[in-house]
């Protein structure tokens, strides 16, 4: 048993690695919620979600010399504004298109926003230093924990709690759940499509802003491909977890973030080169066995497999 632990490198798991993995999982969970919310009401997977995060990160970088509070407000404003613009200009005309067209279009929007950033700011990157102090560690129960780790976990916990309350206790939350279950029927019963969609888009944008803040602390150099890799991984996690329900999508996002953080932390670089292959092979196995997602309920499946 102990030799197995040694082979797997599990003995290298320190408190540091573990807390970092949890923080990464929490950040990815936030992105998963942002993607899952929009998917719930629009049946649209937003590939361009990472570019919302990137826009927020650039806002933070360019307002580095402002007071921190203003800088954060600007970040939220830009990301939510961009999110709304995306809804109006892209999602709305596509509402009745085929899933393939939706996928490729949000792909194109992601590519477009990234190219705009490249044209405007170049490849070198802008440093976002205003929040850098958050990267410093504090000692908690004998473990060095970076402040941002605590913020990531805390903001994920707060955001998820608020969301559960919102979806469970408010009128708009009820309408959103109804829309996610069956949009056509919900509309017939008096749910206003536009207000529900708008609400989902705003909340999803706000979550992207939070993610931008967290990611700029761990990775202060903002480039046009900022958050691109993360978005791809989260999308995979969301589908593997089960995109049809928000809870399973969130859990999928957390799981893939946690696993990435853990393996990235314990495996030496020369051994981890083929790690992506194993992870994605695992993704295929999970999808073939449970096409509706790992955390889906029995009964969610059906149309996903022939």
């Amino acid at each position: 048993m102990s030799s197995l632990i040694a082979i797997l490198g599990l003995s290298d798991i320190t408190g540091q690695v573990l807390t970092d993995a949890i923080a990464l999982g929490a950040t990815y969970a936030l992105m998963a919620v942002g993607i899952g919310l929009v998917f719930g009401v629009l049946r649209l997977v937003n590939f361009a979600y990472g570019q919302l995060v990137m826009a927020g990160a650039y806002t933070l970088a360019l307002t580095s010399d402002w007071r921190i509070a203003y800088s954060i407000v600007a970040c939220f404003a830009v990301v939510i504004g961009l999110s709304l613009a995306m809804e109006r200009a892209v999602f709305r005309p596509l509402r009745n298109s085929s899933p393939a067209v939706m996928l490729v279009t949000t792909f194109a929007i992601a590519f477009l926003l990234q190219s705009i950033a490249l044209l405007k700011f170049g490849t070198l990157g802008e440093p976002a230093t205003a929040l850098a102090p958050l990267a410093q560690p504090v000692t908690l129960l004998g473990v060095d924990v970076r402040k941002v780790t605590i913020i990531a976990v805390a903001s994920a916990a707060v955001a998820l709690t608020l969301l559960v309350l919102l979806l469970g206790r408010t009128r708009i939350g009820l309408q959103m759940r109804a829309a996610a279950a069956d949009f056509a029927t919900a509309r017939m019963l008096g749910v206003r499509a536009n207000s529900v969609i708008l609400f989902a888009v705003v909340v999803s944008g706000a979550l992207a802003a939070v993610v931008a803040i967290i990611l700029t602390v761990t990775n202060p150099l903002v480039t046009p491909t900022f958050a691109l890799r993360e978005t791809i991984i989260v999308l995979v996690g969301v589908v593997v977890g089960g995109i049809n329900r928000l809870a399973s999508a969130t859990l999928g996002g957390f799981a893939i973030g946690f696993a990435t953080g853990l393996f990235g932390g314990i495996l030496p670089t020369d051994k981890s080169v083929f790690l992506p292959s194993f992870v994605f092979a695992l993704v295929i196995v999970v999808l073939v066995l449970r096409p509706a997602g790992l955390f889906s309920r029995p009964g969610d499946a059906g149309v996903e497999r022939v």
């Binding site: 190219s115 083929f274 992506p276 295929i284 149309v303």
Partner: protein, 338 residues
């Protein structure tokens, strides 16, 4: 008679378009001929992708992995033995000590792409919708990861170089025409029609006895072989390549070409590939300043990608079924009725 004529028009129109592009290229300077060549090789890739995506209605993000496998196997097998030991010191001896001619390596590329697609298709073709999209994307990631790091089967993170540049205008055109003819023959065949039926209504198709999994698998393997072949053409065209050239950007570009043209028709695939390549080449030139109708156009570096993104987004939002509406070319009614 009329139906045969209609079918021949469906085949002839894309062929004529490709040949016209090739003829246009012969009138251009050598520097500009490259753009036309690139566009024609692009046609092969997009039509290969179309054979699966267009007929089955399932989006695949994994087809560029078949292009990659084709390109690297064709490239590897055509580098002369005497230079291989220098550029690829680590590869397995049986790969290092053999070299085949241009045509043979293209066939190897097609076989490699087809077999690879068949193998991964067995589990993958059970999936629908988003799960299929993510699973095919996973194939792309795995292929890229392995090709990039396993130096016994290829160049790894370095550039595969010294590949004989045998894809000239004639070979590119011939290759594209072969791919178009195969795609046309497949969509007219019984398996092709059965697959079309499954994309219209999977439940109804299953109810009348179509085996969805099997039909999709055949199309996936065929389209993998065509993409592998196209990869072979690509590597023989550019002469040296890294794994990054057959990864995310090409995946995005080939899918965008297909959807912009109109994903459900062969005509759409060809039009999309040529139109997008044409615009792209124009923008590349415009970044280096060109004369357009008497005025000099000089765009700043990076405008090309933004303009391309805007055009793609606009095309997709304004014409979701593609420039061709996803329909094949048809003769005007007047001629057809005679």
């Amino acid at each position: 008679m009329r139906r045969t004529l209609d079918a021949l028009v469906v085949l002839a129109a894309p062929c004529v378009l490709v040949i016209a592009t090739a003829l246009l290229a012969t009138t251009l300077s050598e520097a500009n001929e490259i753009y036309a060549l690139n566009a024609i090789v692009g046609v092969s890739i997009v039509v290969g992708l179309y054979v699966f995506v267009g007929n089955s209605g399932v989006v695949s993000f994994g087809h560029v992995s078949f292009v990659a496998v084709g390109a690297f196997s064709a490239g590897l097998m055509s580098i002369p033995v005497e230079s291989k030991t220098g550029v690829l010191p680590d590869v397995y001896p049986f790969l290092r000590d053999t070299t085949y001619s241009n045509i043979v390596t293209l066939l190897i590329a097609a076989a490699a792409g087809g077999v690879f697609a068949l193998v991964v298709g067995v589990p993958l073709m059970r999936l629908n919708g988003l799960a299929a999209g993510i699973a095919t994307f996973a194939v792309l990631e795995i292929t890229h990861n392995v090709l990039r790091n396993w130096t016994k089967i290829g160049p790894g993170p370095t550039t595969l170089s010294l590949v004989p540049e045998t894809t000239g205008l004639r070979q590119a055109t011939a290759g594209a025409l072969i791919v178009i003819v195969i795609a046309w023959a497949y969509q007219r065949s019984r398996p092709g029609r059965l697959l079309r039926a499954t994309s219209m209504d999977p439940a109804a198709a299953q109810a009348v006895g179509v085996n969805v999994h099997r039909q999709r698998l055949w199309a996936f393997a065929l389209s993998g072989a065509l993409c592998g072949f196209a990869g072979g053409l690509l590597v023989h065209f550019i002469g040296s390549m890294t794994t990054e050239e057959v990864y995310l950007e090409l995946t995005f570009l080939s899918l965008a070409m297909l959807v912009i043209g109109g994903a459900t028709s062969l005509w759409g695939a060809v039009v999309g590939a040529l139109v997008v390549s044409g615009i792209d080449s124009f923008l590349i030139q415009a970044e280096e300043s060109i004369d357009v109708v008497g005025r000099t156009l000089d765009l700043p570096e990076g405008t090309r990608l933004v303009a391309l993104g805007v055009l793609m987004a606009l095309a997709l939002i304004l014409r979701p079924s593609g420039l061709t509406g996803g329909r094949e070319v048809r003769l005007p009614r007047r001629i057809r009725s005679t």
